[in-house]
């Protein structure tokens, strides 16, 4: 079953979707995936660390640097994902250069071989993405495209048509990182995307806790939570502690 089909089915059942992000290659990241899945995630995004993450704020920059210093590599992380046994889809987030460097087809095949279901490439906008989407789809990988508050209506339509899995709405103007409030621009992003497509719409960036997740879920089908999870990875929280945090996000969404 595709990620999109699973998400449509969950949405139809009245469930708000939750996708936590973890930095791959950092500490007990594989055990954490299992805890996070058990805590109510609908899919899990695994960040492949890159030397120059221009879409990321300080927390994910630091986690990427730390993972790289400890010897993490794109191929190593993907290979280790093959051994992770959870019943929710795994999606990788990677900057484009590691994909370009390995070659589109090889990279797509390696994801498929590891059981990965989707990809998010934040520096590969829709007008540059044809070669990657072609290789990804041939391997059965759903490539999720991002839309931003600055995206024009015409581009929004193209992005919604080309995106697979879900549409990733950027919930603020800025890079990844926790924020104290949800930006009005993020809520407007959700409303615009919901009006443009019936594919699942998830918003990410800046969402830090269950209450904020609930606010965002009111205008979209679900949320992606990155830095708030990764900060706990950096602080040395155990897999079960991170799972407990994800459970609070789940509660926020379910009680909204």
């Amino acid at each position: 079953m595709t990620i999109e089909a699973r998400f449509r089915a969950a949405r139809a059942a009245g469930r708000s979707l939750l996708v936590p992000y973890l930095t791959g290659g950092l500490g007990e990241w594989r055990a954490t995936i299992e805890e996070v899945a058990a805590a109510g995630a609908d899919a899990i995004e695994i960040g492949i660390p890159f030397s120059d993450p221009i879409m990321d704020g300080p927390v994910i920059q630091e986690s990427s640097q730390r993972a790289l210093r400890s010897g993490a590599t794109p191929q190593g992380i993907v290979a280790e994902l093959a051994g992770v046994d959870v019943d929710v889809p795994i999606v990788v987030m990677t900057y484009y250069n590691p994909v370009h460097h390995m070659g589109h087809r090889r990279f797509a095949d390696s994801l498929a071989a590891a059981g990965v279901g989707g990809s998010i490439v934040p520096d590969l906008p829709v007008d540059e993405s044809d070669p990657w989407i072609e290789a990804a789809e041939a391997a059965g990988i759903e490539n999720i495209l991002l839309a931003a508050p600055t995206t024009t209506e015409a581009r929004l339509a193209t992005i919604c048509a080309r995106s697979r899995g879900w549409i990733y709405g950027i919930a603020l103007l800025g890079v990844t990182g926790e924020r104290s409030t949800v930006a009005e621009a993020g809520l407007e992003m959700g409303r615009r995307l919901k009006a443009a497509t019936d594919k699942p719409v998830l918003l990410g960036l800046g969402i830090s806790d269950g209450a904020q997740a609930a606010t965002v879920a009111a205008v979209a089908d679900g949320v992606i939570v990155g830095s708030a999870v990764v900060r706990r990875q950096l602080e040395g929280c155990s897999p079960s502690e991170i799972g407990a945090f994800v459970a609070t996000l789940r509660d926020g969404l379910d009680t909204a």
């Binding site: 890159f50 030397s51 120059d52 993450p53 221009i54 879409m55 990321d56 704020g57 920059q61 640097q65 790289l68 590599t73 794109p74 191929q75 484009y96 250069n97 590691p98 994909v99 370009h100 460097h101 390995m102 934040p122 520096d123 590969l124 906008p125 829709v126 007008d127 540059e128 495209l145 991002l146 839309a147 931003a148 508050p149 600055t150 995206t151 024009t152 581009r155 992005i159 950027i170 103007l173 800025g174 890079v175």
Partner: protein, 424 residues
């Protein structure tokens, strides 16, 4: 030169401006498709800034074919930046090396480097787009100083991102930027040099894009930047070609410029790409190409995508970008502009390199033979010239070399490295 009155793309030909400004050649050819120079270039950026890049492309396309914009730009180049810059025949250096050397004197512009040409153009575009703030990255500080200067002139708020390592080795330029009213933000991420300053400028722009223009200082970055910066810098090459013809009665055998991101070289090459001249870009060989500590992205890089463009980058086997090394902050960059990658691939330009030590030799050589203290960046080109005269450059050859900036900013750093004897 004879100019047709209508270009093939349908735009009216802009007449060269006379009297009121610097004479500008007609616009050069743009990239193909979504910013492609051959297989290089493109627009590999977060979706958040795509709309701003599309707006910038539209504004530039219109402005660059507008008589009013070109007249204002050329007037600024003359009356503010001090163009045209002279070309200087170096009799002593020529005699020493057995070749005939002409220097294109970008060191004599206002602010002391070629960077001012580009920022004046981009400041005009900023006003045209109705934006009130500019951000910039800087390596050696030359582009930061030029941006802060234009911001002061045009009444724009200015923030400059600079690697913490460079803040230290270019303290004078940091002070100049602050004097001019700019905020200087030291960047501590990654290698804390130019690459990381661009990363942080892009991160800032993702948040500030609605009221802020990112004034990129080199022929790097996503489309349309490599094209815009080359066009605003081509005045260097167009002037140099006409000046060299007046002095030599012919095009030079060699055209030489240093290459970090490659803006002074691209501006210079643009004026000569249709001539018979051999185009040579000189990259930073740092401690030597074999040491792994260098900035020679054309010589040693492989195709990749960084800072929005497909080009040649120094990277490891996993596609992680490597740290560059150069004695000069302005060449300390692990990539090169996409049009350079395309020129190298097509064989139209050749890329050589000079080590830190050869740059220091060049720094001293030009000072003592001609009384001209070069910036450490073009000192690499001088060092290469001194090494290759009589070799790659046959005796008696004619050479135009772009002296992209003056060496005042480097005096303190070099004084700690060069022993002049007698306690000097």
């Amino acid at each position: 030169m004879a100019f047709p009155s209508i270009r093939s793309d349908g735009y009216p030909m802009t007449a060269p401006v006379r009297g009121g400004g610097v004479r500008l050649d007609p616009p050069g050819p743009g990239p193909v498709g979504l910013g492609r120079f051959g297989e290089f270039g493109g627009r590999f950026v977060p979706e958040t800034i795509v709309a701003a890049l599309e707006q910038l492309e539209r504004e530039f396309r219109d402005a660059w074919h507008s008589d009013a914009f070109r007249a204002e730009f050329s007037s600024l180049l003359q009356h503010y930046a001090g163009r045209p810059t002279p070309i200087t025949e170096c009799r002593n250096l020529s005699e020493r090396l057995g070749i005939r050397v002409l220097l294109k004197r970008e060191d004599l512009t206002h602010t002391g480097s070629h960077k001012i040409n580009n920022v004046l153009g981009q400041a005009l575009l900023t006003k045209r787009m109705g934006k009130q703030k500019v951000i910039a990255e800087t390596g050696a500080g030359q582009h930061g100083v030029a941006t802060a200067t234009a911001a002061a002139l045009f009444g724009l708020e200015c923030k400059v991102f600079m690697g913490a390592t460079d803040v230290e080795r270019q303290a004078l330029n940091v002070w100049r930027m602050r004097l001019l009213g700019a905020e200087v933000v030291p960047v501590t991420s990654g290698s804390a040099t130019l690459k990381d300053a661009i990363n942080d400028a892009m991160r800032d722009w993702v948040a500030s894009v609605e009221d802020t223009h990112y004034c990129i200082g080199s022929v790097v970055g996503p489309h349309p930047y490599p094209w815009i910066v080359r066009e605003f810098q081509r005045v260097v090459g167009d002037e140099a070609r006409e000046q060299a013809r007046a002095v030599l009665g012919d095009d030079p055998d060699f055209v030489v410029a240093c290459v970090g991101g490659g803006s002074n070289a691209m501006g210079t090459f643009a004026g000569f790409v249709e001539t018979r001249s051999r185009l040579i870009g000189v990259e930073a060989a740092g401690f030597g190409l074999e040491s792994g500590k260098h900035g020679a992205s054309v010589s040693r890089g492989v195709p990749g995508v960084l800072h929005g463009a497909r080009s040649l980058y120094l990277q490891d086997e996993d596609g992680q970008i490597l740290e560059a090394h150069s004695i000069s902050a302005g060449l300390d960059y692990p990539g090169v502009g996409p049009e350079h990658a395309a020129l190298a691939g097509a064989g139209r330009a050749e890329y050589a390199s000079a080590t830190d030590a050869e740059a220091l030799d060049g720094f001293r050589l030009l000072s003592v033979t001609e009384g001209i203290v070069p910036a450490l960046e073009p000192a690499h080109a001088i060092g290469w010239l001194a090494r290759e005269a009589g070799g790659t450059i046959p005796e008696g050859s004619t050479v135009v070399l772009t002296l992209s900036g003056r060496g005042d900013k480097d005096a303190q750093q070099v004084s700690e490295l060069l022993d002049l004897g007698d306690g000097a």
